[in-house]
Symmetry: C2
Subunit: 130 residues, 2 copies
DNA sequence: GTTGACTCTTACATTGATGTCAGGGTTTAT
DNA sequence: ATAAACCCTGACATCAATGTAAGAGTCAAC
């Protein structure tokens, strides 16, 4: 199939399919006219690439084990587990950082609301003093 | 004070101080020789900028309320609260997404470990059959 | 007056997957 | 045979704060 058809079948843009190829993730053969010709299996390959991209892995990392996981189950690809571990560490670091910022933001918001309440209370007291 | 001194006092690079100026965050006067001359108050200004950058706000957003918060308490700067709210929403979206990826990763890791255990158990059984 | 430490402006690089456009070829259907 | 719809490559843009470097001016100390 041609690139446009693969794009439709997978929901991945033509631009991205070409990019995956430039990163060594997929290697369609070329027809005499220069057009890329994809095997029907390419659909599964692209779905697999999407899956790993959604896990936050880079195309470079995916390139390191894609051939293996397309042939075997993940458990038999030694490269996968270390990547998962380090990605998980990344994510945990990001979670810590985001939660710190979140707490900081919430504290600042609470303190603003409190000050505003106090000043409006002050205004009420003044009103009540009439 | 000159830019190098302010950089040392605040821990912010000379490059970044010039960038903050280009974004309208700080406006040192110029001496006859063209050098930037910062008031001692600039230290507090830069510390304030650092604080908001660490909250994940952009220089553009900071530019929108910095003048106000340098003169008043945050609670009196109407621009701040909406920014905090939308930043908090951003962060919560990111937290949800990261947690989804984390769960996904953990499940995949668990399933790999389980398959590996099963196959090594299988190997043990075979060994025990001698 | 020379050297070293500052400062100035301008500009390119970084990161990574994707969008978009230009300029040109191919195919398909009418 | 012509128009529409595809395909090709190459290249620039995106986002944002920061690093880095070149080329040139300034200042301080010795």
């Amino acid at each position: 199939m041609k690139i446009g058809e693969l794009a439709k079948l997978t929901g991945v843009s033509v631009r991205s399919l070409r990019y995956y190829e430039s990163q060594g993730l997929i290697s369609p053969i070329r027809q005499a006219n220069g057009y890329r010709e994809y095997s029907p299996l390419a659909v599964e390959t692209v779905e697999t690439i999407k899956l790993y991209l959604n896990l936050g892995l880079s195309t470079e990392q995916i390139a390191g084990f894609l051939h293996c996981v397309l042939k075997n189950k993940e458990a038999f690809c030694a490269e996968v587990m270390p990547l998962y571990r380090s990605k998980l560490e990344d994510i945990e670091r990001q979670l810590v950082e985001l939660n710190q910022i979140k707490r900081n933001l919430e504290e600042r918001m609470a303190s603003i609301l409190q000050e505003q309440n106090e000043s409006s209370l002050g205004a009420c007291k003044l009103e009540n003093l009439e």
